[in-house]
Symmetry: C2
Subunit: 327 residues, 2 copies
């Protein structure tokens, strides 16, 4: 039995709790929270809730601690800190800061003799793995990643910060024609605008200037200005009824050539269609939690990523069963 | 530089030669053949050609030997035999006999202190990896594998054995509606007939009884009887002009549920569209050849499969480069 601790009980933490219930070799051993522990109750019966500050005192009760904080400010501090006491795993997703985060976590984990793993999920995570493997298999080729259709939390937040906006949700949508061109092996050069469109559902405050809101969204630098953006104004009821899910997904494609004259084209495509982004992310984390528990048992230490873990470690089946039933 | 030996110079062996040229850290160090070495010339200049019987004498010239024989009778003998002298890799694809082949190769490789790898390619191989990982991530779900559109060598051979048939080619075609139902999360139960159709292009001998040939194909047990099969009679020129490629591909899908009430559905899809089945298979083998050379350098021994190799071993990039550019 792998005793899993969860730090943080937001969307991802609750997704982890649900994922643990689907894996019979795991148990939800403790929840750590920055809120008052007395104010938090887990869905699962009988799980102790501790203050995040006191986590170190419970290090012997936990095999792997899943850190469910945000990438902007939580994880850069939390993951190296908790790696002093626990085997840890996080879903750090600020691509540009991964080398720095890796170095900090690796140092802490090596010093304390724990196994750590960062940037687990689907992007970074499964998408990274597919980009890497497809590139190693077809060295002469081109990569494409499309995201969506799905909710972008960052873009939804950006809309909600606009004056006169009460609530809003933004969907990132891949351009079907661009994906089709890649699938046909045409190796197109695609601009930002040609790859994705953005669709916004906005609840305005009463009496707000809708034209002004729409213009402010469509011209917002970094977030919307480089995209074809559609804005729909809807009622609060409609937003709740039709847009309260957190779906996402995407496609990683590699188009490559082989043959003495490069006469043959091959397309490798990996795609995800997810009803719940946080629940799928935590399902990926659960499988890698199993891997981390095993690596720790083998006496390994230091920071790992999806590139470093042999796939067999993710499965509850033995090597013999895997070869017999899945190879 | 990884010195790669190739045993066997058929479609797969020639694909390997081509793949080696696309990987700057590999060189085609020697070809081993069961034919008279004097009668075989490689496309690449200056590659020595040796008799397969004398391979052991050249063991110090080769880092990894790629065994490009057939699964029915060649590989069960060759892979354990050559593992006595070399690090070896093969594409053994008789799924039911993998456990037995693994045991034989593992024993030979452990006794001689070499690294061996079996069943490398796309199925078994990349498809196996995706089935396994998707199952570990979504433990409550259902797997589907569709093959094609592509040429089945076994079915083409079966057609050619029929009296009155001069030549022929068979395509396996996945049923689009079945794949769509899976993609929608409908979890259909699919019979053999509902998953694939078969399309045959046949060149008949002059004066042959076409109706009899067509009937014989469509009712052939195991090969065609359980499928909806279409037969087209064409001229030898048409067969050469339109059907001399060896395309293939397929799709691995997993549809799984998450959430406290299993209310969310997720679809993981991995698909390949390949102009040349042997060239893609050898491209996969080339990436794993790099992994085997590295594992051997680390002093490992015994038989591996795609489940046992951490993905980073496939790439020429360092861990640091991978994290920076691909995670």
């Amino acid at each position: 039995m792998i005793r899993v601790g969860i730090l943080g009980y937001g969307n991802l933490g609750r997704g982890m709790e649900s994922a643990i219930r689907q894996n019979p070799d795991m148990e939800f051993a403790a929840l750590f929270t920055r809120r008052d522990p007395a104010s938090v109750k887990t869905k699962t019966e009988g799980v102790p809730v501790y203050s995040a500050q006191d986590a170190a005192a419970h290090k012997d009760e936990i095999d792997v601690l899943v850190i469910c904080g945000g990438s902007a400010t939580d994880l850069p501090v939390q993951t190296p800190e908790y790696a002093k006491y626990f085997n840890v795993i996080d879903s750090f997703d600020t691509h540009a800061r991964i080398p720095e985060h890796f170095a900090n976590v690796d140092k802490a984990a090596k010093e304390s003799g724990h196994v750590a793993m960062i940037s687990v999920g689907w992007d970074p995570g499964l998408f990274s793995l597919n980009r890497m493997m497809a590139g190693a298999i077809l060295p002469e080729g081109k990569d494409y990643t499309f995201w969506g259709k799905g909710v972008s939390q960052g873009h939804s937040d950006a809309i909600r910060r606009i004056e006169g906006v009460k609530d809003g949700k933004q969907y990132t949508i891949p351009v079907e024609a661009a994906m089709e061109a890649v699938r046909k092996g045409e190796n197109p050069e695609l601009t930002t605008r040609e790859k994705h469109t953005r669709e916004c559902f906005v609840v305005a405050e009463e009496g707000a200037d809708l034209a002004k809101i729409e213009k402010e969204i469509k011209t917002m630098p970094n977030y919307f200005a480089d995209y074809d953006t559609t804005v729909h104004f809807i009622s609060e009821e409609e937003l709740l009824r039709d847009h309260s899910g957190i779906p996402h997904g995407g496609v990683v494609l590699r188009s490559g050539k082989t043959g003495f004259e490069k006469e043959n084209t091959h397309i490798i495509e990996y795609s995800l269609k997810l009803d719940s982004n946080p629940e799928f992310t935590s399902s990926v984390i659960a499988a890698y939690t199993r891997a981390i528990a095993r690596l720790a048992k083998e006496g390994q230490s230091g920071c790992k990523t999806v590139f470093d873990i042999a796939p067999a470690y993710l499965s509850p089946l033995s090597g013999e069963e895997l070869r017999k039933t899945l190879l």
